[in-house]
């Protein structure tokens, strides 16, 4: 009997030693030694608040990317730290779209931060150090993904900080989409059958898809004005079922000939809108379901699109024509991935376009019992030169649940 006590005692001692070892490894090996410097405080993010909206970032996309990252990942305890961080070249819209669409989602769970081809802006560096990403267990504990055209000096700098990296790069965005598709499909042991089709020569309407893909992890492939590139054909033909293709753009964006050719691979669904405001409103309400695959008694349906058309949802408001341009749009996809899981809606700096206003009519909420309230929320991305305070207030009113008692002297 004393031998059992001895063995159990040995087990106990070892358990204690292992737990200490696990804790030490986590705190010392995976955590970089460098600590972040201070970051500029974005006063407007605390000043321009309404009950139904939150302002995130500024007119500078590098700051906005950091602000979005901080909104989603407080990094104050084990479970609100991201799995990794995605660094993208802020000059290349198509590469950023690939990163948002194919890398952000679980199991990676990462915010997007901007770098230059040959240097890391200090804000980005400080945010990276603040986050101390946990590492993706399902990919060699990778802590930083460098996606697209990123110089060796940047890769080296990230590695010297002590992070585990994975570089996903290719000669051009079309090939990058294939490289990333191969990597993520291997990770899942499966190719996503839902594929977003975007025109590399006119990406504007397809920007709305990046938010959905960050949320859902569906696939992305590019066509061009000239036709369907070989890499895209390979991506499509690798799908075991489908591919179920969603063409982002009307026939001025992606021609009927290309759609007809895509139809050789399987079902093509066109989202016929030509610009971001109308596409974002159309896509927020869009949902498609039907066959994905089935075998004998097993069946799995496809489900693509937000399909949000009732009260109790959220939206990410962006302006493509602001001082930050598309950069101030694509860094916000993390808000679709976590938190309020919202689709994007594009507005103008001083005005809510009619298409957006009529979509928001569908979300109009109403008072019910206190415990069964239905509430909406909006993220306002960028500074006041991107979306003005007046526009933010107008959006706040459209998302409101408790109608105002008309004041005396009011119409």
């Amino acid at each position: 009997m004393s031998r059992v006590w001895g063995v159990l005692g040995a087990v106990l001692v070892l358990v204690i030693l292992w737990v200490i070892g696990i804790t030490y490894y986590e705190e010392s090996v995976l955590v970089p030694e460098a600590k972040p410097d201070s970051l500029p405080f974005l006063e407007t993010n605390q000043l321009l608040i309404t009950p139904n909206t939150t302002r995130v970032g500024s007119d500078d996309p590098i700051e906005t990317a950091v602000a979005v990252s901080q909104i989603i990942y407080p990094a104050t305890e084990e479970d609100n730290v991201p799995g990794a961080v995605i660094l993208v070249n802020r000059e290349n819209i198509a590469e950023v779209m690939v990163a948002n669409s194919r890398v952000q989602h679980f199991p990676v769970n990462a915010p997007i931060l901007y770098v230059d081809e040959d240097s890391i802006p200090s804000l980005t560096r400080n945010e990276l150090l603040r986050l101390e990403p946990a590492g993706v267990a399902f990919d060699e504990n990778t802590q930083v993904y460098l996606v697209g055209t990123i110089g060796e000096s940047v890769v080296q700098e990230v590695r010297e900080l002590g992070f585990r990296t994975r570089v996903l790069t290719a000669e051009n965005p079309i090939l990058l989409a294939e490289v990333v598709d191969t990597w993520t499909s291997t990770q899942h042991g499966d190719h996503r059958n839902d594929v977003v089709i975007a025109n590399l020569d006119n990406l504007e309407p397809a920007l709305a898809s990046a938010f959905w893909n960050a949320h859902e992890g569906d696939a992305l492939a590019f066509v061009t004005n000239e036709g369907i590139p070989d890499a895209t054909r390979r991506i499509l033909s690798r799908r075991a079922n489908g591919p179920w293709m969603y063409v982002f753009g009307d026939d001025t964006v992606i021609s009927d000939e290309i759609v007809r050719e895509l139809g050789q691979y399987s079902l093509v669904t066109r989202l016929p809108r030509g610009d971001l405001p109308s596409m974002s409103a159309f896509f927020a309400g869009f949902h498609d379901q039907g066959a994905n695959w089935g075998a004998w008694v097993i069946q799995d349906a496809r489900s693509f699109g937000w399909g949000l058309a009732e009260a109790g949802h959220n939206a990410i408001f962006v302006n493509l024509d602001g001082p930050g341009g598309w950069q101030n749009v694509l860094c916000a996809t993390t808000l679709s991935h976590m938190g309020k899981h919202a689709p994007v809606l594009a507005v103008n700096v001083d005005e809510v376009p009619d298409v957006i206003a009529s979509y928001l009519d569908l979300l109009e909420s109403y008072p019910t019992a206190a415990q069964e309230q239905i509430l909406n929320h909006g993220w306002i991305i960028g500074g006041v030169d991107t979306i003005s305070w007046e526009t933010q207030v107008a959006l706040d009113g459209m998302l409101e649940t408790y109608p105002r008692v008309p004041a005396p002297g009011e119409q």
Binding site: L8, V15, I71, T76, D139, V179, T186, Q371, V393
Partner: protein, 596 residues
């Protein structure tokens, strides 16, 4: 029969290592999640989060101005208030009673500090005036000094408020009785008074005539001598706050926030403030005016009170199909980081993040509970079996003596069952060996127990170590691309390690006794047996892992989660069930012993 002398201590050592590493992984799940929040000195570009918004200010005026601007942006007539109600910052009692007026008068409550920022805010709001009050734009509560900003002013005494309320279209349905000397329980009534336009009355004062017959609810210890009231009490003010947030009057649908576990489909707003800054906490009334009204909860500086954190976890929203469906909750934080730290705010943010129904929250959901129960059962069974077999089964083979506790560790409630089935049998002595007279199906079980006990534990441990250090991933194309998947690669590693160790250390010594051959001569004969029995375990274990991890659980658990162990152990159990008939065949073919 000659097994190398070093093998037995080696096997014992490996078994101890296996058990200790598996247990350490489970203990580490707890120790890794127990530490409180950190990051108090992290640099931040703002102080909001995905489920929370903060009104940051160095002083009361700053915070009040931000709240006022949020609720009344005043960019056009429709977003301007009709009146501003000024209260003396020391007179939180007056402000609390005035909260009932905010909705009917379309008003905002501001502290009359007289500071320039406050005057600028009143000018910005440019209140429209209340017709019912002769166009008054600025109501001065009790003795607050007139800031002289050129607006139509009306002096209001706290005692006038019920009468004022009676002049509006809204009439109160209830009275909330509070203690005028205990702001930490009394101010909790503020958001509700605004939301419902109910009257707040102080304990010891006479209920004003218009409200004399209304149903009364008392907060904390207010009005203990009064009978016939609904009491919302609690051990501490934080408890009272939580109880008020949950309170639902099942007879009267018009009283109570009712944000409890029965109403989890609703969207929530919560307000976090400090109970020791009553002049600021009472600003919570403004936030119940519109947008995301909800109850006031108390926070401490460094972290949330445990009762508040626990409560918020009970409110965690769950999705059934997609996280975009809602519900979504939001938290308002009143004050700067000196009052409520960002990590405390982040605790609320994390507790209220939407998650899948069965996995909402680490360690808190049904699947985690099941995993924990399974693991605790297993641990208790393993210890019991270790003692029982040492005391009562002196003739038991030493390999089996190691196998059973290891197996029980993983099998939840089934370890003891199988152990009893296997050993409540008559003994047969063959030379020095003790055997148990079992029918063939039980011999199959005993043979399975030894291979799964070691093989399963080795596979789970290999999986643990691989996941801890990060699973490999080899991107590939072509029909065999899936072989590079982390889950597949770890399965291959599991199988190879389990076969090698089990073959060399556990199964060969046992089979050498059974065959009556030397260790060296048993090795080649044992290999196919081990390969087959491990393959049969894997046959259920690997697809089970794939199905549970990749398909069934929306959030793929990793080794930091107790669910990971739950999934692994459950698939080991499935592996045992599938391996059983294979072992039955091996026993029948005299390739394996089922009587040890």
């Amino acid at each position: 029969m000659d097994v190398p002398r070093t093998l037995r201590p080696l096997a014992l050592g490996i078994a101890v290592l296996l058990a200790s590493l598996l247990l350490a992984g489970q203990v580490a799940v707890i120790t890794r999640s127990l530490p409180g929040p950190t990051g108090y000195d992290q640099p931040r570009v703002h102080l909001n989060s995905k489920n929370s918004t903060r009104f940051v200010g160095g002083n009361l005026t700053d915070v009040a101005v931000l709240v006022s601007r949020a609720v009344y942006p005043a960019t056009e007539v429709a977003t301007r208030p009709s009146a501003v109600i000024l209260y003396d910052p020391e007179d939180w009692q007056g402000a609390l009673v005035a909260a009932s007026l905010l909705r009917p008068l379309n008003a905002v409550l501001l502290p009359g500090t007289g500071e320039p920022e406050l005057l600028a805010e009143i000018a910005r709001l440019d209140p429209l005036g209340v017709d019912a009050l002769d166009g008054a734009q600025l109501l001065l509560l009790n003795d607050v000094p007139d800031p002289n900003v050129g607006l139509a002013v009306r002096q209001v005494n706290t005692l006038d408020i019920p009468a004022l309320l009676a002049e509006t279209d809204v009439s109160p349905r209830h009275v909330v009785l509070v203690d005028p000397d205990d702001p930490a329980t009394a101010i909790l009534a503020a958001p509700w008074a605004t939301f419902a336009s109910d009257l707040v009355v102080f304990d010891g004062e006479q209920t004003p005539a218009p409200a004399a017959n209304l149903p009364t609810y008392a907060l904390g210890d207010a009005g203990l001598s009064v009978t016939n009231v609904g009491r919302i009490g609690g051990r501490t003010p934080a408890h009272v706050a939580v109880n008020l947030a949950q309170y639902q009057d099942l007879v009267d649908p018009f009283f109570g926030w009712g944000m409890n576990s029965e109403t989890l489909t609703g969207y929530r707003g919560f307000i976090l403030a400090r109970s020791d800054v009553p002049g600021m906490a009472v600003l919570s009334a403004n936030l119940a005016r519109r947008g995301k009204p909800g109850p006031l909860l108390w926070s401490e500086e460094r972290h949330l009170p445990q009762v508040v954190n626990n409560y918020l976890w009970t409110q965690r929203p769950a999705f059934w199909v997609t996280p975009a469906e809602g519900p979504f909750h939001h938290v308002w934080v009143l004050g700067g980081e000196d009052l409520i730290s960002y990590p405390a705010q982040a605790q609320a943010d994390y507790a209220l993040e939407i998650g899948p129904y069965r996995e909402k929250g680490v360690g808190a959901a049904s699947m985690d509970m099941l995993s924990t129960a399974w693991i605790l059962f297993g641990f208790a069974s393993a210890v019991w079996i270790a003692f029982h077999e040492t005391k009562w089964l002196p003739g038991q083979n030493w390999v089996m003596r190691l196998a059973w506790p290891l197996l029980a560790l993983m099998l939840g409630p089934f370890g003891i069952l199988f152990y009893c089935l296997a050993y409540r049998r008559p003994i047969v002595r063959r030379g020095e060996m003790t055997m148990w007279d079992r029918p063939l199906w039980l011999q199959g079980l005993a043979a399975t127990a030894s291979s799964v006990g070691f093989g399963g534990a080795l596979m789970v441990l290999t999986g643990y170590i691989a996941t801890f250090f990060g699973l490999p991933l080899i991107p590939g194309t072509g029909p065999l691309f899936w072989l590079g998947a982390p889950m597949i690669l770890v399965m291959i590693m599991n199988y190879v390690v389990a076969v090698l160790v089990a073959w060399l250390v556990f199964q060969t010594p046992m089979l050498s006794m059974f065959y009556g051959l030397s260790y060296a001569r048993t090795l080649p004969k044992a290999l196919p047996v081990v390969l087959i029995s491990m393959a049969s375990v894997s046959l259920a274990m690997f697809p089970g892992m794939w199905w549970l991890m990749m398909w069934n659980l929306p959030m793929m658990p990793d080794e930091e989660s107790i669910l990971w162990f739950g999934v692994m152990y459950f698939t080991v159990f499935m592996g045992l069930l599938i391996a059983w008939p294979f072992n039955y065949l091996l026993v029948r073919a005299q390739r394996k012993s089922g009587m040890m």
